[in-house]
Symmetry: C2
Subunit: 365 residues, 2 copies
């Protein structure tokens, strides 16, 4: 509980955050806290860090844009605000480790936090389009990747190094990709990347680099540890030299209510949760089953409020008495469905568990 | 066998096409015919039709572009060739019913053809960009969908009507979306849509309308039967008013060699197949298992020759003697994997079977 209190106090998070680590600070809200709300309150938004959280002075902060551009440029926060049009995007961020706990149940994943469904949150992000800043610097046609560097040094990297990532240039030029200084209409807090962070909707959270201080246009992906080595989906029998570098997010969902392990009275129960389809896809349908997937009911799905945001869903069921497993699965607009088994998705770093969502409850007879 | 011969003669297809129907002509190549080749020969390319195949006179053919444009325009084939830059795209088309046979094994799907893995083929398509033609007509900003109409009348539609479809405007404006008059560097044959067809890479084949004669910019999707009613993924317990309108293709793969049911000598066996990821995704990895999915080996995956084309893969295995099930599954660049079970994907019209690929062989002991 010490860690929880400390994190909540220092980073203005709610008291009941599930703190996986306090240094670096890694915390997610409890399952139920995300239910029903399109927008996640800033004090509830998950926080994933790889090193100490920098506290940067906005007035002295500078953003360098270099590499394959006409000439390197430095921008102050004031310059970003005055030289470019402001844009706001409603977007969900999801950590690649979201729902890792379900993979750890299959086989342990030493050294990685057992994130639940709460490493997924949604905010209104405001700032400038990355594409506008790149255009101002004169992006060269041969640039294929846009790399980001931040000042937070991670001792977990091999070798220890500051955080970095990159995204393909076509994603960097998307109107949805921002350099954001505000979150839910308030200045970005330190724990979420103040004064300015990258927001890459539809891609894993690791690419939305916080405290960004350098943007480099280049031919190749970033060679930073967190792009080149971590955040790769390795085969179950890992060859660490190999693996899929994670970018766009696969269709996923989880059940937010009732809580896993809940005891419920007999009678109608409302089951509710979120669903998310990454990249350029949307959520098309969510199904719920209480008989192990033999039959499914369709949940009521909220309208899509933004192409880059999750959608909440709900379904009222009369559950049988006793121990019940509630299962949910989402389909995206390409008719891709969540796969059934976490065992089939197990991977050495525990990324991208998008197997069927399951909670277990006890219902009065 | 009569139907096979007739189709082959009339439509210049290879003799061993698997003809599901001769009127309308619906045929796919045998499993092995697709192996290894990036390009599918035109006489091997699958053909999916909903009505009699029109034979149009290229010189009198006109393309009308209307709806939410500055003014309706009519284009002759000569005008398309001379007024716009020509482009060639290597792209795979895949019928939404590809691999339906695997769903029919779960539960019958009356009135739908049991397509195998061969309703997937790849060609070099040459023509003009749809976006260039829309720009020439002055596309209105409010247009959200681009609808296509063709002259082939389908008696299978309710009510009987000529074929039509639509795609979202952002896909219509993609540089990959063509009005094509050539296939594999030869004039488009009648059976593939001469004189001009739409090619929508990354989306289900049904949107690549053959013999296109009208293009309409509009606010809503097409109300043609084949957009509004057919080609929708319905829940297993169907409510026919509902369902997901199919567009981008989900990650899929199949085994092309050895053939299903083959008898093999003991010793090393090369397993080969294709994998395809639709929309803006690529194929990231293909795994092969001979123990029911308990362990997997990674196949060797060909380089991506085009963002819109399948990738072939192969893997040399020493199979145990006796009856063996060979399984393959692909992962796309968002780390989405093919789901395991066709039973979980069964749907009333039998679309989008992207469950694990499986062939059964007998190996000498």
């Amino acid at each position: 509980m010490g860690a929880r209190t400390e994190g909540a106090l220092v980073w203005d998070k709610r008291d009941d955050m599930v703190v996986h680590e306090s240094e670096p600070y890694n915390a997610e809200p409890p399952r139920g806290a995300l239910a029903d709300q399109v927008l996640t309150a800033t004090d509830t938004f998950y926080s994933r860090n790889h090193g100490p959280i920098p506290r940067l002075e906005p007035t002295s902060w500078r953003l360098r844009v270099d590499g394959m551009v006409d000439g390197a440029r430095d921008f102050s926060l004031d310059q970003l605000r005055t030289e470019f049009a402001a844009h706001t995007v409603l977007a969900t961020l999801q950590c690649a480790g979201n729902r890792r706990a379900g993979l750890i149940e299959v086989r342990d994943i030493p050294g990685e936090d057992p994130w639940g469904p709460g490493a997924t949150s949604t905010a209104q992000w405001s700032g400038v389009r990355l594409s506008d800043v790149l255009a101002a610097a004169g992006l060269s046609p041969g640039a294929a990747h846009i790399a980001f560097d931040a000042p937070d040094v991670s001792q977990l990297a091999d070798p220890p190094q500051s955080y970095g990532a990159s995204i393909p240039v076509h994603k960097a030029l998307g109107a949805e990709t921002l350099l954001a200084w505000a979150m839910n209409n308030q200045p970005l807090p330190a724990v979420h990347g103040a004064p300015v962070r990258v927001v890459v909707p539809g891609h894993i959270g690791a690419r939305s680099v916080k405290w960004v201080q350098r943007i480099t246009a280049q031919r190749q992906p970033s060679d930073n540890y967190f792009q080149a080595t971590a955040y790769r989906l390795l085969p179950a029998e890992a060859d660490p030299s190999d693996g899929l570098s994670l970018g766009a997010v696969a269709v996923n969902s989880d059940i937010l209510r009732p809580d896993d392990g809940a005891s419920l009275p007999a009678g109608p129960t409302e089951v509710a949760g979120y669903a998310l389809a990454g990249g350029d896809r949307g959520v098309a349908r969510v199904d719920v089953s209480v008989d192990g997937g033999r039959t499914w009911r369709q949940a009521e799905l909220d309208d899509q409020r933004s192409p880059w945001a999750w959608q909440h869903w709900r379904c009222t069921l009369t559950l049988p008495g006793g121990e019940v497993e509630i299962i949910a699965r989402a389909w995206d607009t390409s008719a891709a469905a969540q796969p059934e088994s976490p065992a089939q998705l197990w991977n050495p770093k525990g990324y991208v568990n998008n197997s069927w969502a399951r909670v277990h409850v006890t219902v009065d007879r």
